[in-house]
Every structure is written in C-alpha cells, then in structure tokens.
C-alpha cells in the first residue's frame, strides 16, 4: 500500500470530469483511505501483505500461563509482544490487549489516511468495531486473582478495561471522533457486521468518516480452554478446504480501516485503496453452531444485489474458511449456488491458515487480502492445503499466491449463532 498522504487538497482542474460522488440511487459512495493491523504475521499492513504473498504461516506453539494444561497448544499469537513498547504504564492499566491491538491498528489507518479530526470533521466521524470476547485477558487474570489466589480485591479499572466497547471508546478518544461510536459482537462475523454498518452510515449520509474493523485477544488460558470444549479445534494445523482438515486454529490481532465519503476523500486528494460497494447480512435462524448453506447464500446474493454486481464481476472471495469440516463444505456449497457457473471461474482463498481465526477481528484482517487483490493484483493463498475435497471443489488458490487482475471482491463471515455478513469491494 502507498505511504501516508497529507491532508492537502489536490489541485483538480475544473474541466476534468470525475465520477459522481453519489450512486445512481442517490446514496453516497464510500471508499477506504487508510488501513492498519497487528496480527501474528506482522505489526503493520506492509508486513502482513508480504506474508500473504509469501504464504507465510503465523501459527506456532502458544506461550502463556498454564498453557501446559490445555489440550490445544497452538495458535497464531502476536510475537514479539510487549505492551510497554507502545503504551505507558497508565495506558496499560486501562487497555486490555484487545484495546491495545485496536488502537495500534487505528493509528496506522489514520496516519495513512492523513486525516485530522479536530473541528467539524470530528463531529461527523465515528467508530464502530467488532469483537467477540472483548477484554478476555482481563477477565481471565482477575478471575484467577479472586478464585485461584483467593484475593478479595481487584484493580479498580477491571470493568472499564474488560468491557466490549472499551476499544471503540479509546479509539474515539484518541482521535476525537465525536459522532456514532459503538461495538458489535456477532462472534466470528463481528468485524464484517461492524464494517458493514460503518459503510451504511456513510452511504446514507449519517457520517463522513468512520474508523471500523475489529479486534480480538482471546489467546489466554480461559479463552482457549472454553474453545477446547466444542472439539472443533485442530491440534496441529489449519488446513481450510483440504480433505484432511481437522479444525480451526485461533489467532489474535486487529484490523482497522478508515471508511470515508468518496467526495470528501476525493476533494482532499486522498489515496483511495478501494471502494466499498455492498454489504448484506442474514441469519440462519436454525442452529447455534452448525452453519447453513442457505443462510450463507442469502447473504452473498443480497450483497451482490446491494453492490449492483453481477456474479461474473466478482474475481475473488476471501472465504470464511475456518478449516472445520462443517464450515468449509457449507461455504463452498453456498458459493457454488450463489454464483452458478461462475463459481468455477472465481478464486476463493482462506487466509486463516496464515493468521489464524481472529474471531471478532478476523473479517477486518481478511479485508486486507481483498484490498491486496484489487490494488496489487495478488491473490493471497490458502496455505496448508494438502488433499482435494470433492465437497470443496472450487479454486481455493492452494498454497501459493497468484497474480491476477480482479475488479470486484467479496469477503465472507459466517458466525456461530448463524449470523452471516458479507462485504463487497471494488477497485477504484
């Protein structure tokens, strides 16, 4: 991605024709002008995209207290990680790891966008972030204090540190975002729901700039122990769409983007990374853990309609692709149905085999692969792929990144609870 741009207005000659700031239906156009991340593959966007191109795996042995008592001991942890490298003592007392990740990613995104939210812009700007577990490390540490260690006193900031909206609130404070600010928790679809709502707010004229994405830091003893119970985690590797896949591997991190009204971005000469063109959500209304192909398909089809895209316009899909038996075959069936013949021509990869399943932050980190596809013409691979599965018979871009020009992409997220959220981006 390009380096930081200044907020200066570009010199656009009056005679130069430019695309309309609104869509034919009168809605505002929405573009992405900044991106930030921290995850197991890197502490910023360029490092993460380099890992996507190389097909690098960020999964390794977990390192935290009591890990030896877990039956699942692998994950995609952010290494090295010293909160002190980024935050002072007082901030660390207030910021759970999921807030720390969100703030770091947000700072990168805002720096790239080159925006200053002082004055009127701050009143028309906000933040909506996804997280599933919020301050889980804070819960874990303080339960240990009172239950295991038998202490009767905890730090006074435990509640403001663990609450799910802490990250969104600190991001709003950091930049002076005084408009809409809230947190969305829809398990593994949290980020996509958050970004979809941010998109809708700008599109409808309710906000000018939104910081959006998601964050998760669930890799602690209690976090992983809870997941073990469902028996859907792999002990050795994440192999999405591969016939020998045996479960998901959890990751941690954050992705945050600057979504901006197209006219505002264009007027100030911002470097536009991609346009957000569609979003839709659906509920399976069926089972709390088993996914439904019909529910997923409805979200995909509705996103194409919302974006005004034909199936054949879509060149790449960043899959939910968890590496579980149930998700991957259900997702392939949904895509095959929604795209018909075109399903055999599009590419669909899961980057979770590289950065792990970042739960409430996963859609945000995965949107980076979508931007890379549109902007750099590089499709991130599904690494760890070993054996073809007839139930996942799509082009999953196995093991090696591919050069390809694509004009429109989708990003899928299908959460526990049967909640589906799909976003469409287009090259600008």
């Amino acid at each position: 991605m390009s380096p930081k741009k200044t907020g200066k207005k570009a010199d656009v000659p009056a005679a130069v024709s430019r695309p309309s700031p609104t869509r034919p239906d009168g809605l505002r156009r929405v573009v992405i002008t900044g991106a930030g991340t921290i995850n197991a593959l890197g502490h910023d966007v360029p490092t993460t995209l380099a890992a996507f191109r190389e097909g690098r795996c960020g999964i390794g042995p977990l390192e935290f207290r009591d890990v030896e008592r877990l039956s699942i001991q692998i994950g995609a942890q952010v290494h090295p990680w010293q909160a002190e490298d980024y935050f002072n003592r007082q901030q660390i007392l207030l910021y759970d790891k999921f807030t720390q990740f969100a703030l770091l990613a947000a700072k990168q995104a805002v720096a790239q966008a080159g925006l200053d939210f002082q004055g009127a812009l701050g009143l028309r700007s906000g933040v909506v972030l996804g997280t599933a577990g919020g301050g889980l490390n804070t819960w874990d540490e303080n339960y240990r204090t009172v239950y295991e260690e038998g202490k009767n006193r905890v730090h006074p900031f435990v509640v403001p540190k663990l609450m799910n909206n802490a990250a969104a609130s600190h991001v709003s404070m950091e930049f002076g975002l005084r408009g809409p600010a809230f947190t969305v928790a829809t398990a593994c679809a949290s980020s996509n729901h958050a970004m979809g709502l941010a998109f809708q707010m700008i599109r409808s004229g309710g906000a000018q700039v939104m910081l959006t994405g998601g964050s998760e830091a669930m890799l602690c003893f209690g976090g992983v122990k809870a997941w073990e119970g469902l028996r859907v985690m792999s002990k050795d590797a994440c192999r999405p769409f591969s016939a020998n896949r045996n479960g998901m591997v959890q990751g941690e991190g954050a992705g945050v983007f600057v979504f901006e009204d197209y006219e505002h971005a264009h007027a100030r000469g911002a470097d536009i990374l991609a346009e957000v063109v569609g979003f839709a959500m659906s509920s399976d209304a069926q089972d709390i853990v088993m996914p439904s192909a019909q529910g997923a398909e409805r979200a995909i089809t509705a996103t194409l309609q919302d974006a005004g895209l034909n199936p054949e316009d879509v060149g790449y899909i960043n899959a939910h692709g968890t590496g579980t038996a149930a998700n991957d075959k259900t997702e392939c069936a949904a895509v095959a149905h929604a795209f018909g013949h075109h399903a055999d021509r599009l590419m669909m990869s899961s980057t979770k085999a590289m950065h792990g399943h970042i739960i409430g932050g996963t859609g945000a980190v995965e949107l980076l692969a979508c931007i890379m596809a549109l902007r750099d013409g590089v499709i991130a691979p599904t690494i760890g792929y070993q054996e073809a599965d007839p139930e996942c018979a799509l082009d999953v871009v196995p093991n090696e990144a591919r050069d390809a020009r694509v004009d429109a992409v989708l990003s899928n997220a299908f959460a526990f609870g049967g909640l589906n959220a799909v976003i469409a981006l287009r090259r600008v």
């Binding site: 119970g229 028996r231 002990k235 479960g247 709390i288 579980t324 149930a326």
Partner: protein
Amino acid sequence: MTDQIRNRIRAIIAEQAMLEPDQITDHSTPQDLGIDSLGLVESIFAIEEEFDISIPFNANEPDKSDFDISNMGTIMAAVERLVAQKAA
C-alpha cells in the same frame, strides 16, 4: 465392573436423549437416539466427568478419532478401555 460402567454410560446417554436407559441398546447410533453434533459433544463431556477420563474426540474427523462413535456399543467399549488404561 463392566456392567456398572455400561449402566452409568447408558444413564448419561439416556438423559441426553431424554429416553429411558433400557431404550439405549448397543446398536443404537447417536442419530437413532436423536443426538445431534452438539448433543454428542455434551455427552462425551458428561462421560469424561463421570469417569474422570480424557476422551480423544475431534468433531471435525469423527472417523479418525481413536474414540469410535458409530453406536452405543463402540462408545461403551472405548470408554471401558480408557477407564482400564486409567486404572493401570
């Protein structure tokens, strides 16, 4: 000892399936008893708790686990083996 283990497993499965223990035969499959994937995971947890054992079962590859869940007979045999291993 073995009968006792089998009766305890039958009671756990019966409770999960909302049936009487004598309705659980060796040939009953989880599906026959109306136990879905989540119910199966819950039953395995209850058996682990009852016998203080650890059951190697991954819902993503049920066929590859050492713990054969084809029917109640195979489940009981596998639990007996794990209980014996623990005692040894």
